[in-house]
Amino acid sequence: MSIRNLPVEKLVARALEGNRRAVGRLLTLIERGGADADEIADLTHRRTGGAHIVGITGAPGAGKSTLTGQLTRLLPELGLAPAVLAVDPSSPLTGGAILGDRIRMDDIAGEGTFIRSVATRGHAGGLALSVPGCVRIFDAAGFDPVIIETVGVGQVEVDVVGAADTTVVVVNPGWGDAVQANKAGLLEVADIFVINKADRPGASGTRRDLELMLDLSHVSGLEDDSGYRPPILMTTATKGKGVAAVWDSVQAHREHLTASGQLSTRRVDRLRYEITNRVEARLHAEAAAAIDGVELSDDLSPIRLATQITDQLLRD
């Protein structure tokens, strides 16, 4: 019997035994959503918490996939069994996607690494709605760490922070300046900075800008609140340079989270964030349907119409 026809309960049982095909199938069902996905979440929800979840984010082309690939080569050597969720964008026009992260990972990934490509399927924020559910499957099946690689992001796509224990932000030499470094958004949420392509000119300037930005967190007291200053690491991921130090920093951050009690806080936040995203997605779909059916009028302003639709939705 093909694994594709197995009932969800059996698939979960196989996945927990380490059957990779069952894991692959479960990820598909989670992505599809619906009753099967809900049941899988019920069955795996209580079996999680073991894996350290590492988010890797940064602009398109910064080197996220290459860095992730290098980590998946290093980690099996350390006796770890990493899994990767590599997220790429879906087309807003057709819903199709080209998922190309494996190109930079397959050749270098170590034995036993499980890499899954995920399309965003209409979700903004840098991840797909299904990501927390997929992480749960990896976690329950015994993979540790689980690495989430986001789509190439700009300044505001910070979903990954709500999904990961440790967030690594990858930047490149020549990126921005001291003012860019202090803008709100992505850089505020980094637990670890990686300046990748550090063999290129401008790496030390970028490092200085980031250090100054972190100094200001110290001045403003943010650093005192958390008791943690994000390290800044230099890598040349294509050559594997500096990658071991990145992993050391992830572990140091994990120890900080555990010692300070923030790990459990982060995990509670994570569940809340998943719930928020789910509720929002559903409300969004219902609102879109309601808006589709509305007749525009010269007598009513868009704001007035929006208020009417919202009032109606909240009454229903």
């Binding site: 199709g96 998922l99 397959d106």
Partner: protein, 136 residues
Amino acid sequence: MPAPSTPSHKIRIVLAKLGLDGHDRGIKVVARILRDAGMEVIYLGLRQTTASIVAAAEQEDADAIGLSMHNAGHLTLAPAMLAALDEAELDVPVIIGGIVPDADVDILMGAGIAAVLGPGAPAAEVVAAVRDVVVS
């Protein structure tokens, strides 16, 4: 109102060049055609092995595998791919695209390849071939 829990089925296809063959313009065009048809294309690119394609198909739970071949190796490589899938007990249809002489098409189909697409295949034919071979 749409039920938000309605499952959405998307075709997921792995595209790769198997073996030593650097001609990847065609497969990039195909990737784009399938993307624009609403499919999720897991693009592996150049110099893949039967083992790396089997591993990707398993991890990605692929509905189909598309191989591009422009090195006249199709009569060797295509059966090798099918044998590797068989050995892994992975039941995923394989489509070959590229330069395949007419006389070889029947041989490939007879060996278990699900479809063969030539260099002149229009986009609609490529999309239809993938939809046809995918058993959901």
